[in-house]
């Protein structure tokens, strides 16, 4: 019987990444020196990190689902957009921003689980491409439903952190940026701890890595996949809610560029590495911001192509991404 094995045992911990550590260290030194030299540089770096963690958390949502099902969920950004609209609606009904925020996260979890049960699971056994097509269909469907309920007109949400800025040694850093970084990183760390330390997390990792063996020890693999989609939707919701103040307006298309950057971040990080997704997101956020600031032909119209040109070069040099490892498939 010919069978594609899902993942082969990797020999040894994958720690020999010293070139990567040197590269990341050099990048940090560069950003630090630059920030000490120039306040504009420092401000662009911080706001790049802020939008970068948003890309990173959406990338992490993509990685979660990719690791479990080897599928890119093209609807991830639109699911995040829809949950942001839910928060908008809750605020409109009179809830405070943070009440709406946490209720939205719960609803996002339910949303992710329902999507997995209702539209992904029925085609999951067919083929990877079938699931991918379903997620593309979901993208269009969610777009349509949101535009139908809330219209495609621009909406405004209150700013979660206000518009204050702190003055740190002459560098003005907005509360918005700091708050985005804090909230996003906290949600990433909570998720990491869930996977690392809880029984549910262990079951989810086992189900993603080796579904057949996992079911033999009593893990309900189907249920774990549904929970995985739920958690990915929660991360996406955090990304959507944190992205909205950065792009200033709420409209059905607002997550689409963010999904592109998030996808780029996931690929840059190696598509299978959660840490890679976050680092990839921050790298892209900072890079695009700095290039936009200092390279004059890069206006806001061409920021995306520039980011993708860099991504292309990285992948030509290192196809497995920054944190990825070459995977051997046995046939």
């Amino acid at each position: 019987m010919v069978e594609l094995t899902r993942r082969l045992p990797t020999m040894g911990r994958r720690l020999p990444v010293s070139p990567l550590i040197i590269l990341l260290g050099a990048a940090c030194v560069f950003l630090l020196v630059g920030s000490l030299e120039s306040t504009i540089f420092a401000q662009q770096t911080v706001s790049g990190v802020a939008i970068g963690v948003v890309y990173g958390s959406l990338a992490l949502a993509l990685v979660l689902i990719y690791r479990a099902t080897e599928v890119i969920n093209f609807a991830q950004g639109e699911m995040a957009m829809a949950t942001t609209y839910i928060a908008y609606q809750l605020i409109l009904w009179g809830l405070s921003y943070w009440e709406a925020f946490f209720i939205t996260l719960v609803l996002a979890f339910v949303f992710g689980v329902v999507v997995q049960l209702a539209v992904v699971r029925p085609v999951a056994h067919k083929s990877v491409i079938a699931v991918v097509i379903v997620t593309v269909g979901l993208f269009i469907l969610i777009d349509g439903i949101v535009a139908w309920i809330w219209t495609a007109d621009i909406k405004f949400m209150p700013a979660p952190f206000g518009n204050h800025a702190y003055n740190l040694g002459g560098v003005a850093i907005s509360r918005q940026d700091l708050g985005t970084i804090a909230i996003t990183l906290v949600s990433v760390v909570v998720l990491w701890a869930l996977f690392r330390f809880t029984k549910l997390g262990l079951g989810m990792r086992a189900a993603a890595l080796r579904p057949a063996s996992a079911s033999l020890v009593g893990v309900r693999v189907d249920r774990m996949l549904a929970v995985g989609w739920g958690l990915a939707a929660v991360l996406g919701a955090v990304a959507g809610l944190m992205a909205e103040p950065a792009v200033l307006v709420l409209q059905p298309t607002f997550m689409q560029p963010i999904l592109l950057y998030g996808f780029a971040a996931a690929v840059l990080g190696g598509l299978e590495s959660p840490a890679g997704a976050v680092v990839g997101g921050i790298a892209i956020g900072v890079f695009v911001n700095l290039v936009g600031q200092y390279v004059h032909f890069v206006t806001s119209d061409v920021r995306q192509p520039v980011a993708f040109a860099v991504l292309l070069v990285v992948l030509l040099i290192k196809p497995t991404g920054l944190f990825g490892r070459r995977r051997v498939r046995k046939v």
């Binding site: 045992p9 262990l202 057949a212 020890v217």
Partner: protein, 234 residues
């Protein structure tokens, strides 16, 4: 002796390919039973039919009740299946593998782990090692330890001797016997190495092309001429 596990006229297929043509066998409470047979006779498929990892029909009863068809539900009933390739979670640590063994249970794992160490003392230093970096023999031991953590009533072992040096093979079977005697775990073991399997088992079934060709207590089977010729080589 009441039968813990009973299979009656069990059929199984991989797509259009039929692998079992009506297998009937039984494992008594506290018994070690061996399944012998040539390659392709349906030994592995028999275990997979029990744990629900292959499409099957027929009567399968465990502790007097019909076995469910989903592997995770079978595991929760107290059946630990160590499959071909040992089912190691190679990317996870030794400790995480053991925690997964106990996945169907609640409560503290610490006392269980201490008991596991009584059988496998070397695991103490390897808790945080990635399971895929263990040797084949160590992975087989880890698979037994993982099954032990499940507190199974019935242990299904698929070719535990595969790829192991002779010394390790007898070590593995020594531990299987100890688990059976000390912990009261019933065992159904599929084995190419009939010599060692018949030493540990009280009864055996010989499969030929998807059917039970011979069955009986090991003492009788060891005297049986065709078993001696085909599986014991004398």
């Amino acid at each position: 002796m009441s039968a813990l596990l009973e299979l009656e006229d069990v059929h199984a297929r991989y797509g259009p390919v039929r692998a079992l043509h009506g297998v009937s066998l039984a494992v008594g409470e506290g018994e070690v039973v061996a399944v012998l047979g040539a390659n392709g006779a349906g030994k592995t498929t028999t275990l997979r039919a029990i744990s629900g990892t292959v499409h099957r029909n027929g009567a399968l009863r465990f502790a007097g009740r019909a076995l469910p068809g989903e592997p995770d539900a079978v595991a929760r009933l107290g059946i630990a299946h160590v499959p071909e390739g040992r089912g190691t979670f190679a990317e996870l640590s030794v400790w995480e593998n053991l925690r997964l063994g106990a996945y169907t249970r609640r409560g503290s794992l610490k006392s269980d782990f201490d008991r596991v160490l009584a059988y496998f003392p070397w695991l103490a230093d390897r808790r945080n090692q990635q399971a895929g970096t263990l040797s084949g023999g160590e992975q087989q031991m880890l698979a037994l330890a993982r099954a032990f953590m499940q507190h199974p009533r019935l242990l299904l072992l698929d070719e535990p001797s595969l790829g192991l040096a002779p010394l390790l093979v007898s070590e593995v079977f020594r531990i299987v016997r100890e688990l059976n005697e000390n912990e009261g775990v019933s065992v159904l073991v599929v084995e190419q190495n009939a010599h060692i399997a018949l030493q540990v088992a009280q009864a055996a079934f010989v499969l030929e092309v998807g059917r039970v060709a011979l069955a009986g207590p090991t003492a009788d089977l060891q005297q049986h001429e065709s078993v001696r010729k085909s599986y014991l080589g004398y």
